[in-house]
């Protein structure tokens, strides 16, 4: 229990991932939904770092590095999209976003 092993990190990562999933599923405000996706990526980052640490291998850290880059890019594009949408509709609620269905 007191000895923190890889499994602890993995479990933590998983719990955070699950929280992220909750956020993804329950958020209707797109901005807040994007927060949740950040949580997803971050949770994984912890695990990567931990694995990297326990295996003494750098690849995991590199993965984290790239994930951060990706997350940052996604934010840019995501916000861009939200801005366009917001300009047109004045809201960023995804419940207003269902003209296409079936």
């Amino acid at each position: 229990m007191m000895e923190i092993g890889l499994n602890h990190y993995l479990v933590l990562s998983t719990i955070l991932f699950a929280i992220g999933l909750i956020g993804v599923m329950r958020r209707k405000n797109l901005l807040l939904l994007f927060f949740a996706t950040e949580i997803l990526l971050n949770s994984v980052n912890i695990a990567f770092a931990a694995i990297s640490h326990y295996y003494g291998d750098l690849t995991g850290q590199l993965f984290v590095f790239f994930v951060i880059a990706i997350a940052a890019s996604e934010v840019a594009v995501g916000l861009g999209l939200l801005i366009v949408w917001h300009k047109r509709h004045g809201n960023i609620d995804l419940d207003h976003m269902s003209t296409m269905r079936g």
């Binding site: 933590l12 699950a18 950040e38 949580i39 990297s52 640490h53 850290q61 984290v64 990706i70």
Partner: protein, 191 residues
């Protein structure tokens, strides 16, 4: 011992922060909690000896990303309470809890770590940043460059999408309207 305390402390904190992020109805709270969570995560990186990542985490996430989000929040005017209609909460929680439990059940068991050899082992005596840099600019040079391209793409995308040109939609305008608009535009924009 210290490690354990730190782990549990930060584990608790990140979990709490993220939980607040996904549950609160105050967008500002969410943002703040997220930022805090990000910083707490960087703590893990430091614990795990990934100093560079910890730094990056703080700089990129808590700095750049959060700034962007904060900007976005102001732009979208979501600072006040967010009203979200939720259909069936149980589905959401049910699904997430099940998923967490499932994964946890498996991860609770130890992983067989035979036959694993570190391809890019940490080098004694070198700083974390130095190590990473070494690998990044040899083995991961190509991904790194691609990531650069990706950021360029994201930048262009952001500029294009948020740009003024998107306000008029050529897609929806007839040819005559487009010609008129062009004349207008040359006056305004190209001056």
């Amino acid at each position: 011992m210290f490690e354990a305390i730190a782990f549990y402390l930060f584990a608790f904190l990140t979990t709490l922060m993220f939980f607040i992020t996904v549950t609160t109805s105050q967008a500002l709270h969410a943002l703040t909690a997220l930022a805090a969570g990000m910083i707490f995560i960087s703590a893990f990186f430091f614990i795990l000896g990934a100093d560079f990542l910890g730094a990056i985490q703080i700089v990129v996430y808590s700095g750049a990303v959060m700034a962007l989000y904060a900007f976005g929040m102001m732009f979208f005017d979501t600072t006040r309470e967010v009203k979200e209609k939720n259909g069936n909460k149980y589905i959401v929680f049910g699904l997430s809890i099940i998923s967490a439990v499932l994964v946890v059940v498996i991860f609770a068991a130890p992983i067989v770590t035979n036959n694993i050899k570190a391809l890019y082992p940490m080098v004694k005596g070198a700083g974390n940043t130095q190590e990473l840099g070494m690998v990044l600019f040899t083995k991961y040079l190509v991904p790194f460059e691609v990531a650069a391209v990706m950021l360029l793409v994201a930048m262009i995308a952001g500029i294009v999408l948020a740009g003024k040109k998107m306000d008029l939609s050529l897609t929806l305008m007839s040819d005559a309207e487009i010609i008129d608009a062009k004349k207008e535009k040359t006056k305004k924009v190209l001056q």
